[in-house]
Amino acid sequence: MTSDVQTVAKHPTGIPGFDLIADGGLPRARATLIAGTAGSAKTVFATHFLASGIVNDGEAGVFVTFEDRVEDIRANMRGFGWDIAQWERDGKWAFVDAAPDPEEPTAVIGSFDLGALLARIERAVKSVEAKRVSLDSLNALFVQFPEHPMLRSELFRITTSLKRLGVTVVFTGERTNEYGEVTRYGIEEFVADNVIILRNLLDNERRRRTIEILKLRGAPHQRGEFPFTITSRDGIIVLPLSGIELTQSSSSIRVTSGIDELDEMCGGGFFRDSIVLASGATGTGKTLLVTQFMAGGFEAGERSLLFAFEESKDQLFRNAAAWGFDFDDMEQSGRLKVVNRYPHAMAMEDHLVEMQQIIADFKPNRVAVDSLSALERVSSLRSFREFVISLTSYLKLKETTGLFTSTTPSLLGGGSVTEKHISTLTDSIILLRYVESFGQMLRSIVLLKMRGSRHDCTLRQYTIDGEGMHIGEPFRDVVGILSGNPTFAHGVDES
């Protein structure tokens, strides 16, 4: 650090995304309170903190449980691929079982302290040479013993002792409300250095998890709530949105859209790391645009990945075949991948994490999402916007061309919520619109914006046949197409 301000050394947790919002990790050799309501993933966080120390840094950990039984923790965490029993045999993990035994309750007669607990924790820390300690959850202790002032001063003594041993400590504590006092028993008072809040909110009838760093004493960190999700592959994954730098398209390399005329309109094709939004009413040819985008990439020797949220794989392949594109063949060659998902199947955060994993595994040159609107319908505006920001920045990071589609609600004219909220995030926008013309529906295409390039600004008519999309001449005598009220100026072709 070049800063002359004295900052606390950070201990990277290894929890994906977390170290980014915590500017490097948790304060080293300090105690941090993880507060959250029931079901907010406090235990998963406390376990993940130790697990990633073992897996990533070879650092041993001690888990002190006040509530869950040791066997249950071992079993529950197997689901994340964390083999605690093996780590125990390897001397990387030690339990201190401080859960009350229902068979042998302890009667309280007069004053006491937590001297035995402290001695056991210190012993465990020394026995595995732990660098990390998790205590979960302190509320159980406060429920078991009514002597709260004593508990507070004793827990302060324990944290002080652990700090002296140089270990980084994570406490968990329960909250009664998502917003309000930090914890039920004022646990934060003795670990007041650092407080992190996990939330599990109901948002439009869907659960949405967020993490907020309330304070990291003497250390910089990102402010506000960040969404996070839990996957069986990685445990907790924090999505550090404002930690993402939104970069604009910077590549000057052009790639084909899959349609020659559209490439021409764009001045030679899409930029390689640009994000393109295609908007249109149902039936205007958005999926065709996507199909040709995928096929164009395939023909150019690229790897193409399609996320389909509206149509089944069979339907997509059948449509593609009708336009003359053999997706079966392309997929067999291994350079096309079509991923089919129901928008409702998961929360937005989970969709995002899964899509990022698929992109990381498949390493495509181009990605299409058909359609964003399908996802928008199942999420809150905020989740949706965060999703789009994360996905676009991830694609840019990987220098991948992206084509997203958006369905406009009305047949004529347009403008959907999707566009309103993401148009500024995309580099290019293509509008597909119906034009009513003397008893027939014509289709028009216009390149509304293309960052960093000269492009065709005319509204052109296009047709769709067995060979895909054909873009023709500009409409010269129609006004008001985009507003949904096309009127024909003089000089109408009467044929």
């Binding site: 009667a107 006491f112 035995a116």
Partner: protein, 105 residues
């Protein structure tokens, strides 16, 4: 140890463990309160083993002791625990399921 070898009238020996954290005033108070109950109120032979958890944290772990001082009734069953300075003798006997001699006897 077979029940048949123990005479019916004999009271089995009571084994207790007292866990303390170092030589604190509270530890000494608990020890003397416990000794007084054992000597003055209990009919049976009592063996009290004092364990300093600072010296033997492994024993604290093995017996899952959290608080100090803690007295553990090991044998005969039932296994019972009480924690604190053990000032109240009646509460202590109740907690450890012991039946003290009545002052009148």
């Amino acid at each position: 140890m077979l029940p048949s070898t123990t005479p019916r009238s004999a009271v089995p020996e009571l084994r207790l463990k007292l866990f303390v954290a170092g030589d604190s005033p509270r530890a000494r108070e608990a020890a003397s309160n416990l000794a007084r109950v054992c000597e003055q109120m209990l009919p049976e032979e009592v063996v009290v083993e004092t364990v300093d958890v600072l010296e033997h944290p492994d024993l604290a772990e093995a017996y899952r002791i959290l608080t100090t001082p803690t007295v553990l009734r090991e044998a005969p069953p039932p296994v019972r625990r009480a924690t604190g300075d053990l000032k109240d003798a009646d509460q202590l006997c109740a907690a450890l399921a012991l039946y003290p001699n009545r002052p009148t006897t």
